[in-house]
Symmetry: D2
Subunit: 437 residues, 4 copies
């Protein structure tokens, strides 16, 4: 028997993304009766929570739907009895992200929010908080689904899968974003596109691109060569080399530029850091503008400008997933789950990002058709090894695991650099890393 | 782009099951535009083909749909350019089946059409014919899907998967039949039931039984104890022991009675063979009655009595599958496919029967949620080992593989019995086993 | 640095086998300086302990070696500070074994000490005692090696590997016994024979038989057909069928007669039970005679008659193993260890019996060369599944696991029979199965 | 029955290493009766062959042993009927090696004989020649063992294992060299040291270092920190950082400096290339001096100076292996063989370098004890993926595989650099790469 009224808790509810989520909840109310929406944030985020919460309330009011929006700083109250708990938090705020992006540049290494040493620092800060939330859920809402939208989503998902008994799924807007890019390239609508998606969060390849059941990957690989727009908002739009795409035989996701075009990407980052600032600094300005808009008491819809922010289709992905679970839809979506043999070259306990059947019991990965070639496999394996070590480091405050995680990361250039990076990261994030005390 | 007119070839079209298939084609014409339906049979089956073919034509005529029913003895003509080729053939007719069922009884072993030494004999006769059809398809309709409904479906599917490049799926009505049994037991409609189905053809366990996303397996295990009706038409209806079901923790399929209740099943078979005759002999009488009905020029629908025959829901299962492929539905169905890691304790090349996502690219198995316990695993492994050896024996006419296949089968009582059984089987089927010459 | 004086504790030291072990210790004193030999037994075995202990002391005295033989009923004192602890115990004595062998015969099932329902009953009684000893070792001699010679050795080893942290190896005289059989068949000395040995304890196949590096398996398979003497003392000497051996392509161990010749073996057991008695009853008479000999104060050597007892080469196997560990020999021996991928079709945690390199760190299994065919694989898998369930049943007193273990055993004929067998076994062994209370 | 007179063919017999091999043959003549030693080389190497061949003859003469040394340019005659064929060839001579080492430096990538882009170029040239030799062996000496000492040994071994049916083993002097380094560090003799060696050729870690069965790895990790001499002759002697070694928990082989100290190693290489020249150029001078010595008609022993050359212990490793096969020794040695599950995170078909039992049937890998951590696993996996692609590229002349191989190599900095490197490599090696035509 399906419940008739749902409680949804959004941890990090003061985020600028929240209006997108609220819009999604409203749009799907007919199939997903959210009665209580709890937006919860930490004390430092109270102002943003109040601004975005007020907008959320205006949006709901305009819709005329019987949804109660609650604003709170009490996370346990928000979680208690919830049906779905989503996380979209940022430990240390944009200031910490800016540091994550700047520190690696000192050593001529990629400085990125989720990839490389920057993502590593973020993971150290975030994993303990995510596991703490999981503990609250286990105690206060043991039947709830935990939806991790918090980056680095693959690492956070893996931490929850292996260090908690909570039912959880990790979600990212990259698959749906890639689908949109392909749609733009071909003129087909995104809904008609069905991809075979291989890899782990932010390290993926589309190995089939089906339209009406026909694989158009060869055509896409030709069209994508040197094309503009095959990227996400936060990733520079360098075109892919035609010979490279042909030799690869799969469509790489936008983040793979950091691995395949390390030199150009690094040059661009260094250049940008000197002019516009690192991405966190750009986002900070965008956010300021957004919150200025949100403050407007006449605003009752998600403003257009939010799409600039980078999280496009985020609400779409989130609400698709929650609705399919609630409605036992048995449709397929690309999410982050435990591997258990789907990618036989990774540990069973690894989180992977693949197509899954979604029903009330959760996400059930579907076998990959295409034999996965060494050209894809090797890169996934080393980055997953890095992720495993990072989870260990983050959970146990293990310096050795941390040093080795950075050392083997393909975007860190030597063990010596890894040691320096780690020293900087531990020092600059001291306030957020009690596990390393 | 979907084709607007489909050609379907039914090998073994003179089967008494054909009206069920024709009914299914008519009922789904709105979503599956079958323009040409070829019913093909061998010379010995010409009379039955003509009778059932005439009925098929009357059924189509009554429907008013633009479907052309073709009757032919020329298999290659039927296959040429087909979109779907289904097989429902019986090498050696019911006479051979009767022998398959009687020979093992001489040695106090289970004599059954698909399970044990009887199924082994059937496999030796059938695999070469199925591979021959696959060869024709590869030559004459390389894009066609081959749907194996021919028993032993698991072995035939495995043979095609590993000895042909044809796109193929194996299908059985046991999963849908079990769903119906569960539906009857609970009062829920079959369509609402979603099972996690683990195993290989005719050796399966339901490890979850979901209604509206909730697992009602514990309740079913209690209700199924000593219940009547938890079986297929062709399998004696002995009730399951309550303690046994509890200790198993999964719902066994009907055929598992041969393994779990060997003594009672054998006693029943020996008794029946002396009174009603073995199952083939019963079926022969049923078939005679059916064909008498089919002859009636006023009959324009599938007669009720067909349900007695044992192949209930066969059309349902078949047309579901074909329609999902044609319409790229991405729904889930239980079919027979290559393992490739879904059951990690079986070889990758094994055929398994599990839930799959069905789209235009075929059937994509979904990961099994439930950790598969030793109580289930061991039995699947030894029977699959038997199947592997049987495919080898059937394809290569390998006496050694044949002797070992029978020897290790759990329903064959010793190597000495296996040797005698094999001698009898080879002798009695001499006309159908050119590979052993 | 190697210790210069070793302490060895023999649990079940009152066994009739002990003189063989003592002989082995004396013979190898030059490379294995056993200073203290503790023979420990339970109160009920005090008389036998004293008789065999007195003989042991006379043997040592005659040797003139500085070995101290200690007799004790205090297991903890014997274990404390030991370097090697061997187990050769029999919970419930021969009376219990006789019941193990008789109960299955009631249901027309094989009644054998280690194989089938008899071995199952023995496992239920023995596993808890073995784990208790392991616990003592962990506490009192954490660096000691535990050598399990107690049957069912595969199940006991698996229990210790997975439920204790003690360093342990399981040992059986079947490999060395088979080597002797092959030696007799060919005229080569046993020491020159090197076998590739695949499987689990008492369920093994020699897949290569090397003499001077050349594989003589094909020749052995021909010679072994219908040959006498290819068996152990306790297993009837039925000859192997020539066609069967050819089709198998490997030399089966003696115990495989229970699986491949179930009918003949069962007939023989039923017959014997009515005349000579079951094996336990025969052994009882042999033991009585042995102890009468042991009592002779003039006896200072292992009497010839001990070889009749069935444990031939036991001392050889035991002392080989202990000496290779102590001397870090890096030679190869066939023992029972954790699988961890050597037989990729079994769980990593399974105990397997294969060739290992023996050094001071223990036993390191060597990769199997021969691709393992389905004819061998399937049988190993189902019996290992039975063993897994049996360990669970024995450790946790889990009725469900116990019922399923018996149900899936290839030598138990149905679930109904399994249920009856289990009821009898639990009742007849009540005094020894506190875990099932 | 062991042969009493052996024929050994050395492909690349004109190498400066040959005197070392000849010395080894002489020293072991008592256990390895080499009657005919064929030194074979190509026409361009005739002069060196004659010089080194004359020395070999003088060495044998001095020994007084009945060994016939044959010099020939006819490879097929040398192989015909041989018992062992060893390869120590260099396609394109030192000139090609110099190019392999210089090209990557242009792009700020490591330029090394076997590691990175340099090793890749060498593989493209060498694999086809090695496979050609394997073909000759199959035809002319089907029972012979092929011993690959030719670099890149891992890739060459993998090519032969998967593209030939010849019995083959790959060998490298790095394990024995590392053992010597450890011996020097501890004062123990090398013969007393037994390592657990994990990885693939030139990418290995010692995960246990046993002396008399006791693991002294922790002690070694402390001593190795910043120590001098922990390297091979051809690899700069940068010390390992203490924290790094502790966090790694295993002793890295010398070649791992290219991965862990990429920046320092690259700087050193660039510097050296401007002063002493790349390593090939240094070696050329050493070789010239060696051949000047070899020319001396009074020289009848291997000159001391050969040890400077880099191939120390090469003869030791080679003759150990051949003797253990010939004498069916069943001892353990570290060699390159097919994986088949020993490193479960690599494909079965991968070549790996691990401890093996050596007998007349070849090399049988021993299970790894230590659970292999992500810190080691990830790096092995990506380099093995590179190797797989490189074998494909080399065998099939596949440009796409070649481009991707270089792209994913951790020491190649981007796909763009990979493309440029590949263009240079194909152009500069045109004469040696007919497969890319």
């Amino acid at each position: 028997m399906k419940k008739e009224a749902l409680k949804v808790a959004v941890i990090g509810g003061g985020s600028s993304y929240t209006p997108e989520l609220v819009e999604g909840i409203i749009r799907r109310y007919h199939e997903l009766p959210v009665r209580d929406l709890y937006l919860v944030d930490i004390k430092a985020g109270r102002e943003k929570l109040e601004i975005v919460g007020a907008l959320a309330k205006r949006m709901v009011e305009k819709s005329g739907l019987p949804i109660n929006v609650h604003l709170t700083l009490d996370r346990r109250r928000a979680i208690e009895g919830a049906d779905f708990v989503t996380t979209q938090l940022r430990v240390g705020l944009l200031e910490a992200r800016a540091r994550d992006e700047r520190i690696p540049l000192k050593y001529n290494c990629i400085g990125q929010e989720t990839t490389g040493a920057g993502g590593f620092a973020k993971a150290l800060r975030t994993v303990p908080v995510i596991l703490d939330i999981a503990k609250d859920i286990q105690e206060l809402a043991p039947d709830a689904w935990m939806m991790n939208f918090t980056n680095p989503a693959g690492i956070n998902t893996e931490a929850v899968l292996n260090h908690s008994k909570v039912k959880s799924i990790g979600l990212c807007n990259l698959p749906i974003g890639t689908q949109m890019q392909v749609a733009n390239l071909t003129g087909v609508s995104a809904a008609e596109i069905d991809m075979e998606w291989v890899g782990i969060n932010h390290l993926n390849w589309a190995t089939k691109i089906l339209v009406d059941g026909v694989d158009i990957l060869p055509e896409i690989l030709q069209k994508a060569a040197d094309a503009k727009g095959m990227t996400m908002k936060n990733i520079p739009d360098f075109g892919w080399d035609a010979d490279f795409l042909q030799s690869l035989g799969a469509l790489p996701c936008s983040y793979l530029r950091y691995y395949y075009m390390t030199d150009d990407m690094l040059a661009e980052e260094i250049q940008a850091s000197k002019t516009d600032g690192v991405r966190a600094e750009v986002v900070k300005r965008v956010e300021k503008e957004l919150f200025d808009l949100y403050r407007d008491p006449n605003l009752t819809v998600k403003p257009k400008q939010l799409e600039q922010r980078g999280g496009a289709y985020y609400s779409e992905a989130a609400m698709n997933l929650i609705s399919s679970i609630y409605n036992n839809k048995r449709d397929t979506q690309i999410v982050n789950v435990a591997n258990n043999g789907i990618l036989p070259f990774l540990p069973d306990t690894a989180s992977i990002e693949v197509k899954c059947v979604i029903d009330s019991q959760g996400a059930h990965p579907v076998q990959i058709d295409t034999p996965i070639d060494a050209r894809i496999r090797g890169l996934i394996q080393i980055v997953k090894a890095y992720e495993e070590l990072t989870v260990d480091a983050a959970v146990h405050g293990d310096y050795n695991a941390a040093l080795q995680a950075l050392t083997i990361h393909p975007l860190v250039t030597s063990a010596k650099v890894a040691k320096s990076l780690l020293a900087d990261i531990l020092k600059e994030n001291e306030a957020y890393l009690p596990q390393f005390k």
